[in-house]
Assembly symmetry: C2
Homo-oligomer: 488 residues x 2
Amino acid sequence: MKAAIIGGGVIGGGWAARFLLSGWDVVVFDPDPEAPRKLNEVLANAQAALPALSDVPMPDNGSLTFASSLQEAIHGVDYIQESVSEQLDLKHRVYAQIQEIAPNTPLGSSTSGYKPSQLQEGARNPASIFVAHPFNPVYLLPLVEVVPSVKSDEKLIEKTKGILREIGMFPLHVRKEIDAHIADRFLEAVWREALWLVKDGIATTEEIDEAIRMGFGLRWGQMGLFETYRIAGGEAGMKHFLEQFGPCLTWPWTRLTDVPEFNDELVDLIAGQSDAQSGQHSIRELERIRDRNLTGFLRVLKDSNWGAGRVLLEHDARRRAATPAPTPETAAPMVMAHLQVLPGWIDYNGHMTESRYLFASSETTDAFLRYIGAGMDYVAGGHSYYTAETHIMHLGEAKLGDRLTGSVQVLGADEKRLHVFIRIEKDGAPVATLEQILLHVDMAKGRTCPAAPEVLARLNPIRDAHAALPKPEAVGRHVGQRTERGKT
Amino acid sequence: MKAAIIGGGVIGGGWAARFLLSGWDVVVFDPDPEAPRKLNEVLANAQAALPALSDVPMPDNGSLTFASSLQEAIHGVDYIQESVSEQLDLKHRVYAQIQEIAPNTPLGSSTSGYKPSQLQEGARNPASIFVAHPFNPVYLLPLVEVVPSVKSDEKLIEKTKGILREIGMFPLHVRKEIDAHIADRFLEAVWREALWLVKDGIATTEEIDEAIRMGFGLRWGQMGLFETYRIAGGEAGMKHFLEQFGPCLTWPWTRLTDVPEFNDELVDLIAGQSDAQSGQHSIRELERIRDRNLTGFLRVLKDSNWGAGRVLLEHDARRRAATPAPTPETAAPMVMAHLQVLPGWIDYNGHMTESRYLFASSETTDAFLRYIGAGMDYVAGGHSYYTAETHIMHLGEAKLGDRLTGSVQVLGADEKRLHVFIRIEKDGAPVATLEQILLHVDMAKGRTCPAAPEVLARLNPIRDAHAALPKPEAVGRHVGQRTERGKT
């Protein structure tokens, strides 16, 4: 399958990337000599992001070519997407040239400013022209508003929606054409309100962004407007919410004052649609779904130290500072990590998933390496300890919310090797033990080398102190050696 | 520290939960006899969600008590949060009673409808009354708009912001009071626009929610409005964006038509604030940050089969159906899993993190168990294979985007035991091998038992076929047995 992308800016480039990564061949026409460079930058972004969403192998990328003329670009393609500047006469000229050659090929426009009936004016075949309005970044966000007019060919629209699904999008069929379609009407309302707030000195752009991304933006990313308010209505649902907030429509809460009349008819219409949309879930269920999604979003932001995630990291840092970790006792197995089992760590058995025991151990080892001076600064200098080998014994079960500790016993160490025994414990009893060999590596050369003297100066006294500790039974055993020790 | 929560509905309950889980004692006053039940439901939700955001151990929960009078509730507390109905005279009566006893205690109101100067009217000590407007669910969303009036005590406001940070929130100091504060002005603008769209039959509540959560809602949850548009302006930034979209203000894109004059002064004001906010990042950096956040959000939604995540799951399912997995060849190690290394699997060395090798192996084993009829349906019946013991050899490095396969060789099996060797390979060469013993378990009894005959009927022929395969060298070895095989 092959798509023509007419106009290769941010939006056209996003379309090209989505088609290419979905295995379509793509031919781009854009007279801007900078177009190939710009498009390759978008493509690099897309290549780094879109495959991360797939749990099945991605198809091989399609081929990308740049055409030297519009005619050449549309030759033999299955789909055409137009993303040229928002000038109606320019779009009309482009469509006329396209339809001389390919009057029946689906021709979608990325326009946010024009309705399909305006795009179709004077066209040879209006029936194949429609709005397919995507959202930046096109290669990641699923939404595409598909807006036909009364002149559109229904079969062609259905075929187009199939194509858009095939490249991973969510085609929202807008049933009545309207200026700015649907989503941009909300964006424009908020934009206008925001301009007032900045102009009147109520808030800065940054304060406005915080007001959105620390609060309702997170709600909207997973439920939108009405489903969120359905929950806010509590056990009494949407109708209760409407009764509670109906009166606000006449209050000066925005500069938007031309409001619809708030009568029973409107209440019934909205409450009925909301029931049809979400009525299969109880409010409690919706709350749990919402909280799970929000928790996930917030964890993502915490991983990238961004937005609301930065608030969480700073909060952790304050708590950590308020209760500093005790200096570990080096004469005994050293407790290096305190963990709590998170929802994403649970498998379908309801237990902590197998790989998280190794994760807990890694957190423990990492903390130990930081303690002996081989943390991230040391890694940045080109050296690191790599795990060569691990033996895990599963001895118990950790469940959601359990608090675990990870301790390190040094079994042996020389300049290049570190042999450790890790206990992951719950309430003082091991749920897993791990025996590991780590090797000290020169990362650039990819081979072992002696650790830095200052690291060994921290490590060796611990090794010597631990030499007096009893050797754990699990050390030196191979898999299956004594199965009665397994988790039975 | 102790907080009084006056009004124990959805919002008051959310406040109570946040304080309690942050280690504060909480006393609630609400004359509704249902209040304790409702509050305990909110608390159960919060308990299931908020701890998942913390990477340091949570403090022990504070104690929760219900007071039989307002006077009793506020006795000796450090902070008072009022969340009663949105009736100004009711709020005034509550404040008068509170300030008879505790005129100097910080007294925040959850109001969205009233300005602080309205709340302060007629108060004994206006200086200690202010707006602290949170967002539902209060126990998860960080945003709280703190709005003082000119009569407010600056020190008390700063102290309050410290308290709110201490319970994990993001206090947004609203510098000039205005109806509906900041965030609700946007919510109200969108709400009014949405009511028109429903009333005019343009879109249903469900279509409107999709228009938000499949597209810009995801953007707003991490960057808000202006930072998103800064990126949309491309390399030329905010000023370019403003010049491009300025004219739309006069277009009928929303029913909100009372727009500010779009002049150079406004452009400079906004572009300058945007530079101050995000100018430390290049547009390319912002794009990468955005894409990483969006990818994370989408993965979260995919995990919960919700919103945009459902689109991704359906897309995977279509692809999987289009290219069905080949029936594995049972006479050789059976390739059971195809994986691609995702951004969240990478450690600070730039390599796939240690625990993900075991994760890849688990995916492989799970697929094998499904193949022999011991998948999720079987687990639902009360039986499962649990891993007892694992030995991992790290032999190579996987990096971001690498495609990996996981294969299973059955080393041995009887009614209760399954002994397997897993190879995780990249380009046909192993990056890790894993030897494992799994035990068949009656989950309710917590002990081993024979697998179902139909499972053994699938498993035993594979075991017999694999008996002819050469035994891998790594089998039966213990940690450190031959270090020259380590990852050097």
